[in-house]
């Protein structure tokens, strides 16, 4: 694996290998000494053009547990803010000897562009409204850990699919791993081009094994994607009543950060059927696995 740009780059064996390695990495994270010498001497640059402390910290912890040197390159307050182009930044990173660049960028496809300009590996940590492949991998890992499998499960992804990189990556990955994915939300926010769609949350949740809630930004209301927060919550929010109508074994996921009271109620978010905290923990293991597969061999 040279780059990880899209969840669609992974076939089932490749994705399964990442999850298997992540399980080994999780064991390391459970030990007193949470460190492996694997990537000693390798340099990982976190190139973040968007504020995302949680994702950056997760990648930083992953790289450090593998003994890589980590350079955090935040676009704010740097030459990037002064208008340096991505290509010029790429050359700078190249000159610093970056073996891998973890990039978070507001423009879809920016990681694909960067991959043309650096010799090292590029890992997409979220690009615009395109993809967020490590989020999908950690979600798949969490599902497998809780449910014992992914193949044959019915996963409902609920909310603002249109603007969601998490949804795009999960659609690709979970289908590759044999799950049935239904996208749920108002027609304005759920593109039919991405696969099976439903506008009726109550109908879908009856036989869902996994309900993945997406963050809905309040600003969408001003763009007329839906009339009011209250109407959105009523039709597509997950509350206690809906949770109780889900099958007893079904789990609730959310990539965070949550809008409590908007797409998910505190009762649901804090219930034992919610995997929200595990998702964060698993993020580090999955990112360790990805970094290992990108950097752990001959370059």
């Amino acid at each position: 694996m040279k780059h990880l740009l899209s969840a669609g780059d992974l076939d089932a064996p490749a994705a399964t290998e990442i999850l298997d390695i992540a399980a080994e990495m999780a064991a390391v994270s459970g030990r007193e000494i949470k460190k492996l010498p694997t990537l000693r001497g390798r340099t990982v640059v976190n190139l973040f053009y968007e504020d995302s402390t949680r994702t950056r910290i997760s990648f930083e912890a992953a790289a450090k547990r593998l003994s890589a040197d980590v350079i955090n390159f935040s676009a704010k307050g740097s030459s990037v803010a002064k208008g340096e182009s991505l290509k010029d930044t790429a050359w700078t990173l190249q000159a610093m000897g970056a073996d891998a660049v973890v990039i978070r960028h507001p423009a879809s496809g920016a990681p694909h562009r960067l991959a043309n300009w650096v010799a090292g590996s590029v890992l997409n940590a979220g690009d615009g409204t395109h993809e967020h492949p490590t989020q999908a991998l950690l979600d798949a890992y969490t599902i497998r850990a809780r449910m014992g499998r992914i193949d044959g499960l019915h996963v409902a992804i609920v909310g603002d699919v249109l603007h969601s990189r998490v949804a795009r990556s999960n659609c690709l990955l979970l289908r590759t791993l044999g799950a049935k994915v239904t996208l749920v939300g108002p027609p304005t926010l759920v593109p039919v081009e991405l696969g099976e769609v439903s506008y009726d949350f109550d109908e879908v949740l009856k036989d869902a094994d996994v309900v993945m809630m997406l963050r809905v930004q309040r600003e969408r209301m001003n763009d007329s994607y839906f009339p009011t927060e209250r109407e959105y919550s009523r039709r597509y929010g997950l509350d206690g009543a809906r949770l109780r109508r889900m099958p007893g074994h079904a789990i609730v996921m959310h990539p965070g950060p949550m809008n409590r009271g908007m797409e998910i109620t505190p009762e649901v978010a804090d219930s034992p059927r919610s995997t929200i905290v595990e998702q964060v923990t698993n993020g580090v293991s999955v990112r360790m696995a990805c970094l290992y597969l990108l950097l752990g061999g001959k370059s």
Binding site: I21, E24, P37, G297, K298
Partner: protein
């Protein structure tokens, strides 16, 4: 002329494993604090066989674990990325236990060096010993085995191929010319 000769038959392998089991019992005065840690891949079935023999001989059940040293290798950058195997700590852990590492072939010593590093990240054993089915020489590090099934003098270009029933369907050790 390429060649491939059997240096240990299946019966030989059985006898060697029996002997190592006896030696472990003898050298550790009954193996009361011993845990066996098989190094992936073929060290794992060997460690299970040793545990099974010791149970037969002494009615003593030793904890067995597996150790995958891939993430500790010092030659990762020389080859394409390797698959990572499972590491399972033996029941009760390794702290204050006498750990016997088990591997199939002792060669340069680098695998054992990596295993020792991995071990120190897992915990703090009271002592570490090494049991191998075959020692073929050509050490590159100051490492020696405590229990050796068979010493086989080899040329550097030769290959020692260990096959075990659990993985390969047959027990045998071959010495082969370079591929």
């Amino acid at each position: 002329m390429p060649y491939s000769k059997i240096v240990l038959t299946d019966a030989d392998v059985q006898r060697v494993v029996d002997r190592i089991a006896h030696q472990i019992l003898e050298k550790t005065h009954g193996a009361q604090d011993v845990v066996l840690l098989g190094i992936a891949t073929r060290g794992v079935p060997l460690s299970r066989r040793l545990a099974e023999r010791i149970r037969t001989f002494e009615n003593l059940s030793l904890p067995v674990g597996t150790l995958d040293i891939t993430l500790y290798r010092d030659d990762l950058r020389q080859k394409a990325v390797r698959a990572v195997g499972r590491t399972e700590e033996p029941a009760g852990g390794i702290d204050q236990r006498r750990v016997v590492l088990v591997d199939d072939v002792l060669f340069s010593g680098r695998t054992i060096r990596a295993a020792l590093d991995a071990l120190s990240d897992l915990g703090r054993p009271s002592a570490v010993q090494l049991a191998v089915l075959v020692d073929r020489g050509h050490r590159q590090l100051p490492i020696r085995a405590d229990y050796v099934g068979k010493n086989i003098p080899t040329a550097l270009s030769e290959q020692v191929k260990v096959r075990l029933a659990e993985i390969d369907g047959v027990d045998e050790v071959r010495l082969e010319s370079a591929a």
